[in-house]
């Protein structure tokens, strides 16, 4: 019997049993978001840093629905387009309550939402020096992934496809090359569309996946959250089990001896 509990995801010395990280954006309501997280089994959720609405003091707060003592909040710099904005956002996030584990995401283009890797690299260096544990959203470029690692990143988070596109993993080769070269947690971030995309990511050897839109915007978000949970577990088990070699011709499953 495989003890799945022992196969933990470790990020910046912190242990997690679930390899599925979910975003908290795009849900119809905070209660829907909270329920989807529960269904997904995720122990880490990404959150955004935004202005408090000072004119509506009774507006519900995310922390009232998702307890940061039970679920690890991963503050994200989504919406930042340069290093200065990203650093400001994460320094504020840390100030809210001591969050050091953060997700850095510096975007370069408003339409395709690809990361600006030069600004991302610069920010990673600064954040690592300031004691942050930085999980870095990046392009699926092995050379850049290496540079991020050398700059003090705590996890490499290449995109599968553009954010919110639902296209699934477009460049399996690059993801496999990144997997081979790094011992850091490798987490597919962005672009997944359905549960099987998560299984593929895990079978390529990724340590986890981050999903937001594919769950939040599914027709049935709770069911999709559960599907992703199972897909990640299946993919990880498949990866750990060692797949068979691919061969061109058929190889019968039943013995040829004793055929009547």
């Amino acid at each position: 019997m495989v003890n799945l509990k022992k196969d933990s995801l470790i990020i910046a010395n912190k242990k997690f049993n679930s390899r599925l990280i979910v975003g908290t954006g795009k849900y119809k309501s905070m209660s829907e978001c909270a329920k989807a997280i529960k269904m997904s089994g995720a122990e880490i959720v990404t959150v955004a840093v935004r202005r408090v609405n000072i004119s509506d003091k009774n507006k519900p707060l995310l922390m009232d629905y998702i307890d940061p003592k039970k679920i690890t909040y991963l503050p994200n710099t989504a919406g930042c387009f340069n290093s200065k904005e990203a650093l400001r956002t994460l320094r504020l996030a840390r100030e809210i309550g001591g969050w050091k584990l953060v997700k850095l995401e510096v975007l370069g283009d408003k339409k395709n939402l690809f990361p600006d890797m030069i600004e991302t690299l610069k920010s990673t260096e600064v954040l690592a020096k300031e004691g942050f544990k930085v999980m870095v959203y990046c392009n699926d470029d092995p050379l850049m992934a290496k540079r991020l690692e050398n700059s003090g990143a705590d996890a490499i988070m290449p995109l599968a496809a553009p954010i919110g596109s639902g296209l699934g993993i477009q460049n399996k080769i690059n993801i496999q090359i990144i997997r081979k070269q790094t011992k850091l947690p490798l987490i597919i971030d962005a672009g997944l569309g359905q549960a099987s995309d998560a299984t593929i990511a895990m079978e390529l050897g990724c340590d986890g996946v981050l999903v937001n839109t594919a769950i939040a915007k599914a027709k049935k978000p709770f069911e999709m959250a559960l599907a992703f949970k199972n897909a990640v577990i299946a993919g990880r088990q498949s990866y750990n089990s060692g797949r068979i070699d691919k061969i061109l011709m058929g190889n019968p499953s039943s013995p040829s001896k004793g055929i009547i």
């Binding site: 990404t46 959150v47 955004a48 202005r51 000072i54 707060l61 919406g79 504020l92 809210i96 309550g97």
Partner: protein, 72 residues
Amino acid sequence: MKKIKKIKIKINGKIKSINQDSNLSIVLKNLKIPLNKVAIELNEEIIDKKKINKINLNKNDKIEIVHFIGGG
């Protein structure tokens, strides 16, 4: 009766009129800000939440109060 002088400051991009001798703690209290769930910047510098009652506000100060919301 002595009239209390007002000053204008900006909070989260909105202009607010406050009493001249207000400190940051009073302003945040009036806005019912849950301090344990926010971070505060005064003129683009992060403020130590433990020291807010020692920070006096001046005309045209810019305060940003942020918290966590849903995001990807």
